[in-house]
Each structure stands twice: as C-alpha cells, then as structure tokens.
C-alpha cells in the first residue's frame, strides 16, 4: 500500500546466494517492521549502470531509504548524492563506498580482514611458509573491489609483499604460482585448478574467492588424487561452504553475515524515517562491522576461529 514506508535494496547481482540471503533478510525485517521492500540488482558483478538506474527509480518512487552493495564504489557516489539530496537515507551494505562518508552509514564485512584471517590460518597450517606454492583463484579480470580486498588480505595475512594493494597480480613473490580467474563459480574453479596443477604439480596452498570456486577446485584435486596435499581457503560462510569445511574439502573459510547486514540496514532506515536518527559506526572503524569469523576444524594458534559445527549454526544459504 502506498502509505507504508518504502525501502530499496540494490545488490550487485541477485544470482549469488550471498545476495539472495541478503534480500531474504531484508524482506523478513521489512515485513516485521511493516515496511515495503523493493529490490534491484545488476545483471553481472560490475554492472554499474543498472545500479544507477535503480537509484533513480527509487527516487522517482518516493522511497525513504536505500540499501546498496555498490558494484563500483566510487562511480556510484554522484548517484548516491542525488538520492541523499532528494531526502533519502543511503546505507552501504557489505561493500563500503569510496569515500566511505558518501553513504549515511555502512554495515559491512571487512573483506580485507576476511582475507587476512584465511591468510594467517594458511601460514600457520603450513608452518614453513618458504615451501609454499600458492595458487590464487580470483573473480574475473575486471578486478572488482571485493576480489582485490580478499586477495590482498590473504597475501598480507600469509606474509607476502603486496606491491600495489589496490590490485592483484603485481606481486613478484615466486611462491605465487599464478593468478587464475574463476568467475566465482564451480566451473571456473575446476578449470583453474587443472591449469594450476599443470603449471606446477606441487601447488600446496590455494586461495579461492568464494566457496563455489573452492568446490570446483576440490573436484580437480579429487581427480588428481591430491585432496590432502593442498591447503584450501575461501571466503563466504554459506551453508554448503561450511559443510565443505566439515567434510574437509575446504580447510578454512571466513564467514560473513549478510542476513544481519540487511536486517540492521532496514532497522536503521526505519529509525531514520521515524526518529531522524543515524546509526553509529563500530568504535575505531569508519563503518558498522557486522563481523567476520574464521570457520575451521583445525584451529591455528593466534588466529581466533569457530568450528564448522558452530559455523553451520550461523551459516546462510
């Protein structure tokens, strides 16, 4: 009905379970608070124009606020400003805008931290990091920010010199066998692992952008009889991913909480609409950190983690 408060959710895509869960979380919370949720998504990760169009539509539609996971964190800023000028509150979810103040508030996972945790864990697990032969599995050649943050976080955690922290692939450390692209799905993971093993059958550490890519890589490892030989780390904490941790297909994964982000975002807009109060960031950070937890059944000293059983309680999708 036209009288209730409308809130828009704009995600990068809606084909990734992560965003599907985010939408479910937002829908549930909106229903609870008696608000109307309209959701939008780009066609592919990086589809910036569709997100701009979505913001324009929300303005035209008279929404009270916008929750957005931006595909292009700095290009979106003028469109976000336009919305704010029109009196909407804009909250960034999952991915901070550049600059972070461009949004009224940010509820996000720290993707760099997520990478760092699995990097540290991998380093601790292998012990002698000088023997590492690392395969890197990224999203795609356009290097969207999540991909860069996780990749660079992982390398930092593992103890490798980053070069330019704004891009992957410029590192000169010989322990990196190669940077592959996977489109963040099983197919790409499978093929990339085949390529990596053909290049260097001694690969023993594998970073993956997300759990579907890790699952694909695991199929190759099974084929090559190398399942125990490679330390596989990933990011996301979706239920199939955590299950794969329990089954030993993935060594450790950084879990994020999209449902929580979405729910918090909807609540914040409600508060803004009703009382005009803006949410506060986590002390010491420029954003409200919804937290990230390392899920593994083989904890490493000095790296806090939860078990896969605990992870399954909290998982999404």
């Amino acid at each position: 009905d036209g009288h209730s408060t409308t809130v828009c959710l704009i995600t990068k895509t809606d084909t990734n379970p992560f965003f599907v869960k985010m939408k479910e979380g937002a829908e549930a919370k909106a229903a609870e608070l008696g608000m109307t949720l309209k959701s939008f998504a780009g066609k592919i990760d990086g589809d910036h124009e569709t997100q701009v169009q979505a913001i324009e539509t929300c303005i035209l539609d008279g929404a009270k606020g916008i929750l957005i996971t931006a595909s292009d964190t700095s290009s979106i800023v003028p469109a976000v400003q336009q919305a704010r000028d029109a009196g909407l509150v804009v909250i960034a979810l999952d991915t901070p805008l550049t600059p972070i103040e461009a949004a009224d508030a940010t509820f996000a996972t720290d993707n760099f931290l997520a990478g760092e945790l699995i990097g540290k864990w991998a380093a601790g697990t292998i012990g002698d990091t000088s023997t590492a032969k690392i395969g890197m599995m990224n999203i795609n050649v356009s290097q969207p920010t999540v991909g860069v943050l996780r990749n660079q976080g992982f390398l930092q955690g593992f103890g490798i010199d980053l070069g330019d922290p704004a891009k992957w692939g410029d590192e000169t450390d010989p322990r990196i066998v190669n940077n592959e692209v996977t489109n963040a799905n099983e197919e790409g993971g499978r093929k990339s692992m085949e390529n990596l093993l053909t290049m260097d059958p001694g690969v023993n550490v594998l970073y993956t952008i997300n759990e579907p890519a890790a699952a694909g890589a695991h199929e190759t490892l099974k084929d090559f009889g190398k399942v125990g030989d490679v330390i596989v780390v990933s990011v996301d904490g979706g239920c199939p991913g955590v299950q794969n941790v329990a089954d030993g297909a993935i060594g450790a994964t950084s879990q994020q909480y999209p449902l929580l982000m979405a729910a918090l975002g909807v609540e914040a807009i409600k508060k803004w609409a009703d009382e005009g109060i803006k949410p506060e960031p986590t002390p010491g950070k420029a954003f409200f950190d919804t937290g990230v937890a390392l899920v593994t059944d083989n904890p490493v000293d000095g790296v806090p983690s939860i078990t896969s059983a605990e992870g399954l309680e909290l998982c999404w999708g």
């Binding site: 939008f40 169009q53 290009s75 469109a79 050649v141 969207p144």
Partner: protein, 356 residues
C-alpha cells in the same frame, strides 16, 4: 538471309501498341488502407507504435507517476548511452556486420580521456581528442580486418572486444577516477551531463547529443549517396561491387564511424555517471544489438531504419523503468523483459504483415 526477316517479323506487331502506362485500381481504400501504406513506406513507425503502446500500458498499470515529465525524461537519460551505442551498432548491422566491441571501445576511450588528464596532466581538450582518436583507431582496425582481410565481423569484433577490454583493464590498473576529482580538474569531461530545463522536463546534453546523432545519421542514410551505399553493401555486397559501389571504402567508413561514435558514448558516459570507471559498459554490446533488432533492423543487413533503433532502445527503457516502478523484483524483471522483447518483435512482425 531470308530466314532472318521472317524470324522477327511478328515482333513488329507490338509496334502500334497503345502507350498508356498500365494502371490497376487500388482497392484498399479509406483510413486503414492509408495507414497500411504509411506503415509500409516508413518501417520505423512500427517500433514507434509499439513504444507508444507500451508507454500507455505502463501508464495505466503504474499510474500518474509514469506520465510525469520527470519519469519521461528519466527514461531518455537512462537510455542515452545505449541509444548512442545503438546508433553505431545500427550502421554496422546495416552492412550485415555486427560489432561486439562497442562497449569495450566506449570504456577504453573514456579511460584514456581520464588518464591523459590525471596521469599525464595533458589539457582536457587534448585529452578528449586523444580519447576520440582511440575510438577511431579501434574502428580502423575493425574496418580493416573486415573490409580488407575479409574476416567475419563477428569474429573480428569478438577478438577486438577481448583485446580492447583487456587493454582497458591493464591500462587503467582497474582504477576509477572519482567524480569529485573530475569536477575539480577537468569539468569538460562531464559536459554531457549538463542539464536543461524544458517545461518541467530535465534534459541533459547527452540526451540531446543522442537525438541529434540519430537524426543526423538517419538523414545521411536516407538522403546521401553514402547512405545508399551502406544499404547496398548490406543487401548484397557482390551486387554492390558489380554495380560500382566502393564496398571496402564503405565498410571502412562504417566501422570507423562506429568506433568514433563509441568514443563519444564514452565521453557521454562520464557525463552520465560522473566518474570514469573501467568496469562499466560490459553489456553495451548485447543491449545495443537488442535495441537495433527490436527497432526492426535486420541482422542480415540492408533493411531497416536507424530511427527504429532509437525506438528500440526506448522500448527497453520503458519496460525496464515500468517494471521497476511496479515493484517487480530483479529476476522477475529480467524474465518479463525477456518476454516483452519477444512480444515487441512479434507485434512488429504482425503489423508489418498486416500492412504489407
């Protein structure tokens, strides 16, 4: 020889014939007959009708908001980039080609404009020229491979798409140039974003550029020799060659123009989104082809009107905005747009058949 004269004698029987031009009566009278004729002569009217019908449809479904000058001009703004690129695509498709590299050329051009200013400190006017030049050079390469090396346009532009896009990522180091910085240092880059108020409606220079471009090309295609040659080349290149068209030259001109227009689209893109981002425009090829085909231009070349492509882009824009305003969620919107693309072309075909 006696046989000769006998042979052709009977033919002279036709000589005292009555020299009036044959006239058959046109039995299709009245308004409908006239309408059918008008439609037949102006094929771009068909997508226009579909466009108007869909505006009315969504107006009824969505209500007042949809008819506001704000909404109407918003659609124009939202389709401006696709509209400009679709103009380039139309030219290529009219020659029975296809250009998959349009989006990549567009992005690379805008990135070059930005880098020239921000990395090398070149004056913005010159930087823009460089960007346009890059688009033009991409066009030259496409054209040379198609016209002189006689490679299939699909493959040439598929290859160029990958090459140009990868160059773009490598060259830009995947960095976005921020809107704020552009505004401060080189506002000319954003000039296509300049707004005009025209009776409650907001138009941008980019929208006006798109309209002017389409009308200019429409004129050139219809009323100049070059335009006729473009159609002839698309229709049957062998016949065109035999009847005196410089087929290679025409193809070159088309691909070069397409590259240049894409570079302008890149410039207009800066006006639209403010910043310069190497990741935008990845769907521009499929979107522009969609607009062109919905607009009634044949993928086999030689048939259709560039105005149709503009209407095609607008039809998709109307559907998209309309469905969003109706609150359809993203996947449902995609699904419905898929349905509507088919429906729009089906209606188009049907009108053509009725008016044939």
């Amino acid at each position: 020889m006696s046989e000769q004269s006998a042979n052709t004698d009977y033919e002279s029987a036709s000589s005292n014939l009555n020299e009036t031009v044959a006239e058959f009566e046109d039995t299709r009278k009245g308004l409908i007959g006239k309408l059918q004729h008008v439609l037949h002569v102006n094929p771009a009217l068909v997508p226009l009708i579909v466009l108007v019908a869909s505006i009315i449809l969504f107006g009824m479904l969505v209500g007042q908001r949809f008819f506001s000058p704000f909404a109407m001009t918003l659609i124009l703004q939202q389709v401006q980039i696709v509209g400009i690129v679709a103009a380039a695509q139309s030219l290529v498709i009219l020659t029975a080609g296809i250009d998959l590299s349009v989006g990549a050329i567009m992005v690379l051009s805008s990135v070059v404009m930005g880098q020239m200013v921000f990395s090398y400190g070149i004056p913005v006017e010159l930087a823009i020229l460089c960007g346009l030049l890059v688009g033009l050079i991409c066009g030259v390469m496409n054209g040379w491979l198609v016209a002189y090396m006689k490679l299939p346009p699909f493959i040439v532009t598929l290859g160029m798409w990958q090459i140009v896009l990868a160059s773009n990522f490598l060259y830009s180091a995947n960095q976005t140039i921020r809107s704020q910085d552009i505004e401060d240092t080189a506002p000319l880059l954003q000039v296509f974003g300049t707004k005009f108020q025209v009776g409650g409606a907001t138009l941008t220079l980019g929208v006006i550029f798109m309209l002017a471009l389409v009308f200019t090309l429409s004129y050139a295609l219809k009323h100049t020799a070059w335009g006729r040659h473009v159609y002839a080349v698309g229709d049957d290149p062998d016949a065109a060659e035999l009847s005196g068209v410089n087929v290679k030259g025409t193809l070159m001109s088309v691909y070069i123009l397409s590259g240049l227009i894409c570079a302008f689209a890149g410039w207009a893109m800066v006006g639209r989104i403010g910043s310069i981002s190497p990741t935008v425009g990845q769907l521009a090829n499929i979107e522009s082809i969609t607009a062109v085909v919905i607009g009634g231009i044949s993928l086999f070349g030689g048939r259709g009107s560039i105005l149709g492509a503009l209407f095609g882009a607008l039809i998709v824009g109307v559907f998209t905005l309309g469905l969003r305003l109706m609150g359809a969620d993203a996947q449902w919107t995609f699904l419905l747009i898929g349905l509507l693309i088919i429906a729009a072309v089906a209606v188009d075909q049907w009108i053509r058949k009725v008016s044939a």
